[in-house]
Symmetry: D2
Subunit: 332 residues, 4 copies
């Protein structure tokens, strides 16, 4: 079920320590200019390397294997792969015996009866988000006049990100954060009441990103403590513009022409440098575990571009589906 | 796109003030006992009638039209409909001219170019959740040893629900709330890392319920302010039981055998008895609007059973898909 | 899996001797005029009543339950049902013990472990084609300038249909036939090379119609005995018109702008008035069986409109999907 | 739409003269042994090289890029690619101006507005069937006790294949053929009446193979000239075995436990060495065309293994879906 979308369909594959990570995009219209350089900016935003991010540095050069000819998409499926080069798999041997808390080691082993590629999390690795970013870069090209912007607005409970990161490094303990995403320029009418509300599709895509624990649109959880007279957004012009935007740009699951706004909670990475107590499957006893390998202290720093990409993928699909209704609207 | 599921597929249809509301369930195994009485309890939990809920009372008798024979499911699609009887459509004529803030009136009109059935919200109405509850009743029968329980844990910012409702009635202003859902008895291994994580599928289904503004699993938004050493759940036995449950029963998108726990935020109903200011499309001016019709002051009171139903539908699908993997696991 | 289509999705349900037969159509654009009278012609072409067709006569009045408002489609799912009234279920009790040869009695019982509604074939009945015809009527309204026409061109091996039917009645033995379908006015470019070739989709839909044993496009089976120099269709103008049409209007799975032409083989109905030898599950012996009930001697007479409907459903979906590519084509 | 399947999902990609041809298989259970050697036999059956087949010889070594670890499938998506090496693209420059009759050149250019990779047919090339064969090899491993066998039973209208091929070489004109496929060992109960009958799914998959013009199951087109009393297959034992097999192993769209048998018609390759008359898009005149490049005189020789693979893919999906029903059957 590594697939998402009705018309603009994204399929991901690959393992953290296998040959490669890849993405197959089907349903992308022909005639969209596409070059390797187009991926650079978003890939570098995702990339490790800053303080508090993992020391595993990969080139992350996208290899376009199909679906692009003479610099343009052809309408055939686009396959893009990223080779894995900087691999140190010996790091991971212990986790078959003592599954890391907070990670998928235990569930993957159970679900796939021990046949899963466990090295570096295998197919569960955060490295798979490379595929999402590549899909997002292409998806953004289908949007016209639409801007998707996500940023980290809080880390470790602190609005000052740098301070929070410095403290995490000092404490040698991982921290979480809040990412906010705003989309401008959306037409009225994307989405469906059942079951493909815009919230449904965005949350579906966003919860594929490792470490996300919650999502809220517009007023979100604070709406639970508001009254209707305060919460309702008065419509103030014929384009549907509202005075306030507690709805976050969505009514009845459909975009209403205002800014789409949502926030996601990112948990602290499970691979923290601190010692942990967890089961050793061989001894049957809870024992201390030090997670080795190269990891991020604040993965939330790298999440914004992945959130943007997931949203871009959803919007590309909604926009293509909407062209049908739009064309039929204009006909009637 | 009024469909959900891979194997256990639920399709909803109908309008608030049309002939009926219905649900078509495909992929339900043959041989499950099913009678009209099975629907009673969950339908009555959803039903209006308590203080602070709408005065529109419908019988809500499920009419099983296909897929059931001699008291058992046949394996063919199950169609269940609920007739609409207690309709007062004249109430809604004004909303074509002055769309209600917070409702889908404006977006529905734009999206469907004015052809939508606007009466009582039409296909966007909360009455469509009847379909979800019916689908949930059948879905729950596919679960064995699994309990899905949702309840309202806070209304209007108050943990004392009765007090909160009494205040809303006194103030004649609608209020929101928080619904918490807990699932026990789940096997390890349901869900997929991409894109069908358990969080992805549950949030997809739950955001189809009108008025939901946010969802969080386990530690949720509070995880953003925690450290890894505090957040990680130590595994303490070979079944995967953990000491804490910040993960909310899910790792890497897969159930880990602990309680699945999540909370959703329910906004205050947009139809509040208070006067509102919003655009009159004819005059082009922002004018006062009193929303007439019969409405709930605290829809959150009726949401728990609908959340349960949406989750039951997701789990039925995941359990059926999982049988494939399970059978192949046992074979190898 | 009672569903077909990507954008224009058709779901069928119901049983021959249950409450009703129905169809749910999702993805139909808003604003298409639709009235009960629109169904009359195609429903009457499907209807029994002529010589050599069953004596079970039903009113077959389509009841539009949702998705239509003030005479136009709303964009919400359209549910249409046909009540079953003229039922004589006692006819069918024997077939649980002695499954009719050529029918689905045996496989249905095995597949659904005896829980299937066996009366009149239940969900396997040819009466389900009512749903296809209803879906086809709406689908045809999405076509502009396209004509789908199927007719019976041969029955019982005889090009003179009346003669063939008269002989079948005289012999009291059922006969088969060949139905040819021609579609004119199609644009160039519908379909996909993999896996949704036009042939793939049409054959998928057409083989849902009971009694179909084969399908061939253009030159069909005779192509196997031709040479390339004879078989190739020379393109003679810039619109893609070809001198011959051995391709049947399709190249590489894509419509080429010429007439789409295909033929299907319809087997003789399994319910023939002749005595048959087949297993009695109780006695464990092969015994004589007289199939009672009311049946068609030449079901092929009623098949053309069902084939048209299945094709119309496929083309509606392809046309809606194509609007996306078309719009993107015109943009580039 | 380059995807097929509900649980065992096959996605194809790549172009004839691009970097590679590939297939992505999702939903394959974990724990199936898989090595490169497993592909050898079927790939070599597909391979060119015999008389009357193209002189383009590729190594066709499958590169397993993901989803396999330590010699077993992991449950994650399996990506397999075949590099293109022996490319002579200059051969194809003329076909942008003078599209080859019988080929997809014209429709591809129209559909994708000229952005398609036209070299060697691009994504429409028969070389894409490599992907199907690779998917088929894995699919066959999911079958237990099932044998899928296709063979060429007639070429150029002659039951003596060698003679037919010799004549085609002598005449320097391409020829077609008939491929018959037989499946033994199938359980009763695979498939659905609507819309996923076994005939629907097999024909859907098989019509993705280039050059197929028709398909018939069991008695096929000859059934149209039979009577019911002759056509019906008497059931002769409790396992569902029938005396005759005009049904071809399928009743009501469901396997009945007898041999599944069908035949497909393969047209003569459009690239015949004979001169042809067809439109020159530049001159606007019908002119002579000699198709250069390296081609098969009788592609039907290479089709059987591709048909087997397409069927294997369908059956793998049906068998996995059936496990659900089977498990629920055994429970009830």
């Amino acid at each position: 079920m590594n697939s998402f979308g009705t018309i603009y369909r994204t399929h991901v594959f690959g393992e953290s320590h296998g040959n490669l990570i890849g993405v197959l995009i089907d349903g992308c219209p022909a005639g969209i200019p596409l070059a390797i350089d187009d991926f650079k900016e978003d890939l570098s935003r995702r990339k490790a390397g800053a303080s508090a991010t993992t020391s595993r540095i990969e080139d992350d050069i996208p290899l376009i294997q199909s679906g692009v000819f003479n610099g343009f998409t052809t309408g055939a499926p686009i396959c893009i792969v990223f080779e894995n080069k900087n691999i140190q798999s010996k790091d991971y041997d212990q986790l078959k015996i003592q599954p890391r808390p907070g990670h998928a080691d235990f569930v993957a082993q159970q679900k796939f009866h021990g046949f899963n590629d466990h090295r570096g999390g295998g197919h569960f690795s955060g490295r798979l988000t490379l595929s999402l970013v590549a899909a997002g870069v292409i998806a953004k090209k289908i949007h016209t006049g639409i801007e998707v912007t996500a940023k980290l607005i809080e880390a470790g409970g602190n609005k000052n990100i740098e301070e929070a990161v410095a403290l995490a490094i000092k404490n040698q303990d991982s921290i979480g954060g809040i990412v906010e995403c705003i989309v401008t320029g959306l037409p009225v009418g994307l989405g469906e009441p059942f079951f493909n509300s815009v919230e449904s599709l965005i949350s579906h895509a966003v919860f594929s990103i490792p470490a996300i624990k919650g999502i809220e649109f517009g007023s979100g959880f604070s709406s639970a403590r508001m009254t209707g007279s305060n919460h309702n957004d008065s419509i103030i012009d014929a384009s549907g513009k509202t005075k306030t935007n507690f709805a976050g740009g969505i009514n009845g699951g459909i975009t209403n022409g205002n800014e789409l706004i949502f926030r996601v909670a990112v948990k602290p990475p499970s691979s923290t440098p601190q010692p942990q107590q967890t089961l050793n499957m061989e001894s049957g006893r809870v024992e201390e575990l030090m997670v080795v390998g190269r990891h991020d202290l604040c993965i939330a720093l790298r999440v914004p571009v992945v959130v943007e990409s997931a949203v871009a993928m959803v919007l590309a699909d909604l926009l293509l589906v909407d062209q049908i209704q739009r064309q039929n609207r204009s006909r009637s």
